[in-house]
Every structure is written in C-alpha cells, then in structure tokens.
C-alpha cells in the first residue's frame, strides 16, 4: 500500500511534537529553485514592460539582464527537475483531491475539519506542483527559441514571434501561480519553518496534513 511518507520524514514526540518534513538536500534544492524563479521573474518583467525596466539595475544593466536571464532559466530548469523527481510521487492525484477541490469555500475559510484528511500534499499544493512542472517546461522550450545569442539560426522569425508571445504569457501565469504558492505559505502559519529548518510542529501536521501524520506515526515506530 502506498504511504504518504517520504524517506526523510520523521516524528519526534514531545511538547510540542516535532515533525521532520524536508531533508537538508530537499531544502537546498527548493531554495535554489525559489531564488532562480524570483530572479527570472524580476529580470523577465524588466523586459516585459517599460514601467519595470528599472529592474535591470538589479542585474547590472540592460545587456547583462538580457544575457543572464536565460542562464538562470537553465539553473531553474535543472533544479526543478530535482524537485520533480523528489516530490512527484506524493503529488499524484487521488480521488479525495476532487473532494477537497469541490470544497474550496471551506478551504479558503480555514475550516479544514470539514474536509477529508490530507496526505503530505493537499490538492492545492498538487495543482501548484503540476502547473509549475508544465509551465517551466513551456518556459524553457519557448525560452530557447528566443535565446538569440546561441540559437538565432535554428528558428524562423515567425517561430520566434510565437515563442516570445507564448513565453511572456506563460511567465505571467507562472508568476500568478507563484503568488498563490507563497501566499498560501504565509497565510497558513507555521509553514515557512518547513522550508527554513525542515521541521513543522505536530499541531501543524495534525491540522493540515492529518493523513500524513497518521501514516508517519504508524510507519516510523
């Protein structure tokens, strides 16, 4: 039977109970992804609209922004592949996820008692995971087509026009998904420590990911 537990997860009884959620390696992987995504959004938006062109200052001017953005994209892609391999199993869609999605009203109101018990990831987190996977794939593909410094001879102008349109729309969607992701982490208090120290409290796990906590308690002891 598949369990909701990943290899680095663990539980330490006490007051409060402490639950290990992410290993050091997973956290470093996540931080590299996070930093590169933010840098990509900033450098990309600088070229997206004149109102934000001043952001090129963060990267040492217009030409360096243009030059460095695709390279950060490569870092993001490789780093996200690492996250994908780590996380995809527990992000597979399950029937209870549909129930969770159909009760978004309760989710948004914070009434989690009315929802089915959640494993390591809830349906919202899974949606973020899968949409980011798809968006990053589209971004690197369209990004390479418009990476004129190295690939200008491989694509026609018409292909590049379409690619730049696709790239900018996809980037906007990715930024919106990122806003949802970060907002959720802030709104649900106690989440950020999963990313900083790799640990959350037992109460947090009980409240938001009860099935995961139950599986942890039964499998790890």
């Amino acid at each position: 039977m598949s369990t909701e537990v990943e290899s680095g997860d663990g539980v330490h009884p006490g007051k409060p109970v402490i639950v290990d959620r992410y290993t050091v390696a997973a956290r470093i992987n996540h931080w590299i992804t996070a930093v590169s995504l933010v840098l990509l959004a900033l450098s990309g938006l600088a070229l997206f609209t004149p109102a934000l062109y001043f952001l090129t200052g963060l990267f040492g001017g217009g030409p360096t922004t243009r030059m460095i953005h695709p390279w950060i994209g490569v870092v993001l892609f490789l780093s996200f592949m690492g996250l994908f391999i780590r996380f995809f199993r527990l992000n597979l869609w399950e029937r209870t996820d549909n129930v969770w999605m159909s009760r978004l009203r309760d989710v948004l109101a914070g009434d989690e008692e009315k929802l089915p018990e959640v494993g390591k990831y809830n349906a919202g987190q899974k949606m973020v995971f899968w949409s980011m996977s798809l968006l990053i794939l589209v971004l690197i593909t369209s990004g390479v087509v418009i990476w004129d410094q190295y690939f200008s001879n491989y694509f026609t102008i018409e292909q590049k026009r379409i690619a730049v349109l696709v790239h900018s729309i996809t980037a906007i969607v990715a930024i919106c998904v990122w806003i949802v992701h970060v907002y959720a982490a802030i709104w649900v208090r106690g989440t950020i420590s999963a990313m900083t120290r790799g640990r959350v409290t037992g109460g947090w796990a009980w409240r938001h990911h009860r099935k995961w906590l139950r599986d942890l308690v039964t499998t790890k002891h």
């Binding site: 009884p13 070229l47 026009r161 730049v164 729309i169 906007i172 919106c176 409240r207």
Partner: protein, 312 residues
C-alpha cells in the same frame, strides 16, 4: 533626368534635427514636437539600377564597416544576406516574364525601409534604443541597445541584424548623420545612374510618378510605387516595374504590416498580464484581511501529542 542636388556646404553648422524632434522612442512616451519636420524619403528606382553595388560600397565606406570575404556560390548576391556590417544589399533575381517572353534581371537594393509605423521600435523593450525623428528616419541608439533581438521579431522586412561581436542591433540609418547636416545618404551620392534619389517625401512621390509614366509608356503596365500602407508608408520607397507582384523582387513582402502576433504580444498581453499579477496579489491581500491567519491551535498540538503518546 533628376537634377542632382548641388553639393551642400561643408561649413560646420547646427544639426537640422535632434532629440527635440523625436516622434517615437522605444519603451517610452515622448511629447511630439509641435511642428513636424518635412518628411524625407529615399526613392530606389529598380528599373534604373545596373547592379554595380556602388551604393553597397559607399555604405561600408561612410559607416566605416568591413565585411568578411565570403564564398561565391554562383550568384551575384554578396554577401548572401544582410549582416551586422552590411546594412544594404543588392539582391538579384532572374525573372522570366511569361507575357513578353523576356528575361528580366530584377535588382533590388534591400535595407531598412524606415517605416512610418516601425515594428522594430514597437517590439523594443529598452527605453530609447530605437528612435524615430519627425522627418521619418528610424535609428538605433547603440548605447541603449541590450541585444535582445526583439526588433528582429518586430520588423516586417527582416532587416535588423544582431552583431556577434558587441551584441547590438544594426541596420541602415538612412545616413542620419549626413542628413542632419543637409547631405544626402552615402548610397544615393554614389549611385551612377541616379536609380537612388533622395529628397522630401512629396518630391520623391512626384519623381516616382514621372518614372512610372515613363515605364508604362514602355509597356510595363503594372509599374508603380512601393510605399506600403500596412506600415503607414515608408521613407525608403521603390519604383517597381511590376508593382502588382512585389514578391518577385527577392521576396519583397506583398502587403507588409506588423505581425498580429507581435501586436498581441506588445498590446493585450502587457495589459492583461500586469492586471493578472496585480489581481492575484490584491486577492491574497484581501483574503488575509478578511479571514485572518490560519493558525495552529493549542487543541491541534494536543491532538498531535495524543496521537504520538507512548510511541517513542
């Protein structure tokens, strides 16, 4: 015969136009000057061109450019395409006219058309890297260019080229530096047959009319002026023997305009995109304001302790 413009004085004088005459500036808004300068134009009469490439040489000379020695593949086009150093290129087409049975050698001088509605400028993300003067000249400002290649995607004529050396975009300037001091472009100056003439746009249209009448009288019934309305006209125009088929002149676009994909990218996408980002941020903010933080309660911690009790 078009009377050659007398050589203007070479005594130093103030530039005839400058920053204050910009009607467009990439990624910026400009207050257009109260009075627009007389629009200038270069007229290229394909029917008079003998393909000597004097204009191509003059362009390299005046702009201090050097082209690499290329490879002869059995065509006259040399180099084979526009490059960051070759801002104007003679393109040779052997055209068999089915109606007359004649073989016609069509020689078109390719280069920037100095569009009234320039796609390059529309696409450019760097403030001030592409400018348009009120006399119609579209110029690239290399200090501000970031080398992204967006102008290449914006241009309906496939003109700008990005240098592999300094990663800046290059194209014909319409000899903006010469025109500013009352001279004609270098290519025009060098043309031995006056196939290239330069003056105000109105003068050039009049001259073109006269040439078209002449061509029609010689049996070229579709002779006409190429001044495409899709880009609101250009400041480099052609007299074509077969104006009904511009594409036979080495792929001169039939009815060029800024690609709808570019319009969508630079238009609706920008507004919708920024609105979406703003809306998502605002919804998050409001949600937090209305529902407050989702906090773990003491009860939750108790439940976790109960669940793990006696299991260590």
């Amino acid at each position: 015969m078009f009377t050659p413009v007398p050589n203007p004085t070479t005594n130093p004088g103030p530039a005839k136009f400058g920053e204050q005459d910009l009607i467009r500036r990439s990624a910026s808004t400009v207050t257009p000057p109260a009075k627009r300068q007389t629009e200038v134009a270069k007229l290229i009469d394909v029917s008079k061109c003998i393909g000597c490439k004097a204009c191509q040489v003059a362009c390299l000379e005046w702009n201090n450019l050097t082209e690499e020695v290329g490879i002869n593949v059995g065509v006259y086009d040399n180099p084979h395409d526009l490059t960051p150093n070759t801002w104007t290129l003679m393109r040779y087409t052997e055209y068999e006219n089915a109606e007359t049975g004649n073989l016609e050698w069509l020689i078109r001088k390719d280069g920037c058309m100095h569009c009234e509605d320039p796609g390059c400028l529309k696409a450019c993300p760097a403030p001030g890297a592409i400018v348009q003067y009120s006399n119609g000249i579209v110029d690239f400002v290399h200090d501000k260019c970031i080398g992204c290649g967006y102008c290449v995607k914006g241009c309906p004529f496939n003109i700008p080229r990005i240098s592999k050396v300094d990663a800046k975009a290059y194209k014909c300037t319409l000899c903006v530096d010469r025109v500013a001091v009352g001279q004609g472009p270098a290519c025009q100056k060098a043309c031995p047959t006056q196939a290239i003439v330069f003056g105000t746009k109105d003068e050039m249209k009049q001259w073109a009319d006269h040439r078209i009448k002449d061509l029609k009288s010689r049996g070229f019934k579709n002779a006409g002026l190429y001044d495409p309305p899709g880009v609101k006209g250009t400041h480099v125009m052609y007299v074509l023997q077969h104006n009904d088929k511009p594409q036979i002149y080495a792929g001169l676009p039939n009815n060029p305009s800024i690609s709808p994909v570019v319009e969508l990218w630079k238009g609706a996408t920008k507004y919708a995109g920024l609105t979406a980002i703003g809306a998502f941020a605002a919804i998050g903010f409001l949600h937090h304001l209305l529902t407050g933080a989702n906090r773990v309660s003491a009860e939750d911690e108790k439940n976790a302790e109960r669940l793990t009790e006696g299991r260590s």
